[in-house]
């Protein structure tokens, strides 16, 4: 059987790619860093993780410049072919700027950069990336300035009705409270999936919650789900 290989995007300013790589390595999966012009290598990948950071210095809007880089056509092609894409933090912002996922991530209501361990509730979706995770409360860190999920009210309603909300900020008991919604996201939204379920975008960092020595392994299941799907 062909060895699996997962691409991790690295734009100028992306800085979370080693964290993602560390998790994939621990799960014995091969990976490759994908730079903004790596069109050919991109297509050889079995899945793509858009790693977090501050691509292009967050100039214009977070993710906006990356959303107009060369490999974005390949990324869109990936979406159409229903191959798996996970966008973490700045990766989620890029997915919204390319309109692969709806909505946008705007400045936290506190106007502060928030770096903190939080809890998120896994909602019911049909995405295989979240298989077996329904109703699970994950302890997971966030680190962002622009993480407030925003969209028009009717679009938010559509997300709810179509069961596309993946994660919502909550307290340790799993209750979605206003206090737990640190960045002011509408409906406490921390992550969403597309209709086909092959694209997941989330602001929290599952790759930083994948080892016991980091005090949480709750994020690891997203990666094991991904690998499981790729293998079957």
């Amino acid at each position: 059987m062909k060895q699996l290989k997962i691409g991790i995007t690295k734009f100028p300013g992306t800085n979370n790619e080693p964290d993602v790589a560390r998790v994939l390595k621990s799960l014995e999966v091969d990976y490759e860093y994908i730079f903004p012009d790596d069109v050919e290598i991109f297509q050889e990948m079995d899945a793509i993780v858009l790693a977090g950071g501050f691509s292009y210095g967050d100039y214009l809007r977070p993710g906006a410049i990356a959303a107009h880089s060369t490999i974005i056509n390949e990324l869109k092609d990936f979406v159409e072919k229903e191959r798996f894409i996970i966008g973490i933090c700045n990766g989620f912002q890029i997915l919204c700027e390319t309109n692969i996922l709806p909505g946008i991530l705007t400045t936290n209501t506190s106007t502060r950069f928030i770096s903190k361990w939080v809890y998120i509730m896994t909602e019911e979706t049909t995405s295989p990336l979240l298989a077996g995770m329904k109703d699970k409360v994950l302890k997971i860190p966030i680190a962002h300035f622009d993480g407030r999920y925003y969209d028009l009210p009717e679009k938010i309603q559509e997300l709810k009705q179509s069961k596309l909300i993946a994660f919502r900020y909550c307290d340790s008991e799993g209750t979605t409270t206003q206090e737990s919604n640190l960045n002011g996201s509408l409906e406490n939204i921390a992550g969403i999936v597309n209709k086909k379920g092959n694209v997941l975008g989330l602001m929290p960092h599952p790759e930083r919650a994948s080892f016991n020595y980091l005090s949480s392994e709750d994020g690891k299941m997203i990666f094991t789900n991904l690998i499981g799907e790729l293998k079957c």
Binding site: L60, A64, I104, T106, T107, N108, T109, S110, T111, Y150
Partner: protein
């Protein structure tokens, strides 16, 4: 008989494919048609000057209605709906400007002046301002902005071109029209009938003022302009001064945390009458091409697809020509 109409110095014939044939007659008129004469060969000379000047503007990437010259006194142009407001660009005081404001002629403006006139003979083409013209729907605000920057760009080009042949461009008028797709194009003619040209240093008048002021030898001087234009082989290298400012603002329905923090600071500093503070962004784009309808369309595309996110932001484009 094909449909068309006659102007004071030209006949317009509608031909196939949304085109018109413009035939330059030998008629010359002044003071809204009060003074009227026929001057031998004037039609041919003006048509040739106009053709050459349109071709020159095309070389620099400006968009005009001109397509080709068919006969010596005829050109084929795109059919446009003429905007009833014409622009006048002045480098030095002359003509109606001096009468209107009681100033001497030949005073150089620090930077060129743009004026707008309503095309209406019965009213003697009155001066209008942009606000009136837009409110009366003679043109829309986007057209008003484009007409101004294009007029400035044409002035820049023509001034440099005439400079090569020892002529001082004092002022000129431009007409504009919309084609069937709504594109704004420079229209009508650009000739010695529509501009003032003085010989450098001597100040000798070479334009229609010779006719208005009965200075004589009108055709002789018109022909001289054409001959001078024909000596130009290489057009001057002109650096365009086209600039766009795109102002990007969060929609009023979207929370602006940074604006709110700034607002609180202003209130703390006793500026209690400021009710709302919103912080936006500005992108200044400097172009290597001359302004046109197509360029504005491109800027709109950039603004909505890259510079702003339509979900949360609105944008405004201000097109400038810095000369």
């Amino acid at each position: 008989m094909l449909a068309g109409y006659s102007g004071k110095a030209k006949n317009i014939e509608f031909i196939e494919d949304e085109k018109v044939k413009i035939i330059f007659r030998d008629s010359i008129s002044a003071f809204d048609g009060v003074k009227l004469n026929e001057l031998d060969n004037k039609g041919v000379i003006n048509c040739k000057i106009s053709t050459r000047l349109f071709q020159i503007l095309h070389e620099y990437g400006l968009e005009t209605h001109f397509i080709s010259s068919s006969k010596d006194d005829e050109m084929i142009c795109e059919r446009v709906e003429i905007i009833p407001v014409e622009t006048v660009c002045r480098n030095k005081t002359a003509g109606s400007f001096c009468r209107r404001y009681g100033v001497d002629q030949g005073i150089k403006f620090e930077s060129p002046i743009i004026e707008y006139f309503l095309k209406n003979d019965d009213l003697h083409d009155p001066l209008v301002n942009k606000e009136v013209a837009v409110n009366m729907e003679w043109m829309n605000s986007e057209e008003a902005m484009l007409m101004e920057v294009i007029t400035r760009a044409v002035n820049h080009i023509l001034k440099e071109v005439f400079d090569l042949i020892n002529l001082d461009l004092i002022d000129f008028k431009l007409e504009f029209g919309r084609n069937k797709d709504g594109c704004l194009l420079i229209a009508d003619e650009i000739s010695t009938d529509t501009m003032r040209l003085w010989v450098k240093k001597t100040g000798e008048i070479k334009d229609k003022d010779r006719y208005r002021k009965d200075l004589g030898k009108v055709i002789h001087h018109y022909e001289d302009i054409l001959n001078r234009l024909n000596t130009i082989n290489d057009l001057p290298n002109i650096e365009t001064q086209t600039e766009a400012n795109v102002n990007i603002n969060l929609k009023s329905s979207v929370l602006d945390p940074a604006g709110a923090v700034t607002q609180r600071s202003l209130t703390r500093n006793q500026h209690e009458t400021i009710e709302t503070t919103r912080l936006g962004k500005n992108a200044k784009l400097i172009f290597s091409e001359f302004p046109s309808f197509s360029l504005l369309k491109e800027i709109k595309g950039i603004s909505s697809e890259i510079l702003s996110n339509p979900l949360i932001e609105d944008f405004e484009i201000e097109l400038k020509y810095n000369l």
